[in-house]
Amino acid sequence: MNAPFFKYGLFGDNVSLIIAFVIGIGFGFFLERAGFGNGKKLAMQFYFRDMSVLKVMFTAIVTAMLGVYYLSVIGFIDLSLVYLVPTNILPQAIGGLILGFGFVIGGYCPGTSCVSAATGKKDGIVYVIGVFLGILVFDEFFPLVKGLYNATPMGQLTIAQWSNIPYGLLVFAVVLMAIGGFIAAEWAEKKNAGKEGSVIPERMDK
């Protein structure tokens, strides 16, 4: 078998749009299942009271990472055909910080705000409008930020290429890190049990 199918020409652009819709449904479904249509639940991550963001995100990363790793090791998928967003360290770091601010101020990120809006949450709908405004501002002021946007280009680069650490070892390290993070997350949630917005409203052993 040859994957990625699209890159091997198994279907054309129009079919890919239908697939986009179907994959989007899956994406939205699991985001909503996880409770990510709820801005307060998301924000509680940053008060150590509901660590779902960390748990869901890293479980998803570990699942997809292991999946894509094993599928390419057995020769099913050609990983070099899977698109990597090029690395520009400086704008990505600064953009990440800005995004983090927006996350804790607004309670969502673009994907989760769509889910929130779809389930009728007013803050989600307003947030979506906000994202549009922010992008409009970026587009209009692009000449001003162009220098930063294009700074420190490093091309398509994996951590393995950059650090010369074997890819497989990094995979293991990410799994270890994720599980360590989960244990810490469970601990933090228990510690903050009973506080406003905590995933554990009150201690059962009281």
């Binding site: 090791v73 055909l81 967003v85 280009p153 091309g155 398509q156 074997p166 799994v175 994720a178 599980i179």
Partner: protein, 214 residues
Amino acid sequence: MKNLSLNKKLAGIALLLGFFAIFLGSPYKGSFYNINSKELALITGNAVDHVKVDELADWIIQGKSDYRIIDLRTEKEFAEYHIPGAENIPMQTLDKADLMKNEKIILYSEGGIHSAQGWMILKAKDFKGVYILFGGLEEWNEKILFPKIPENATPEQLAAFEKIKEVSKFFGGTPQTGSTADVKDKPKVQAPKLEAPTTTPGTTSEPKKKKEGC
């Protein structure tokens, strides 16, 4: 406690899979490949792997940027002259070059041999969109930089020449008009001087293709 054990089981599976990954190496493949000789024979037979110099010139003038031009010659030769926007990847380093398999890649060398060989290497590595600049830099010089008007040109040929003159000037070439100049002082054609900023790395190595990211 049932739920707890499920989470632990999942963590166990992830740990196990992660652990074995240490011994299974890189998912980006090495340097041994199988080639589909039939497919390659068909492609070469049908000559769909070529890009003509005037096509490429058109693309550059139009500012198209969905492709990368790769110069396979040595660094020294590259420094002397190269097609605007080209990147230098000497033949020896082609195997390890930082190229993506889904990019449109146009190879050229002095003539056509190295680019054809490079094409083969990349095709064997399963690159999808590799093309050869037909005739290489020799053809580029002859047709684009220093085009000549044929003797006893027909009106159609004249019209075509007028067009190519514009193209040639765009690339800093000198169209060879009049057969006299051609015969008398046949100068060693000087390649146009390179303006320094024509190829700043980073602008050329990043093709502006359709965004695939978030």
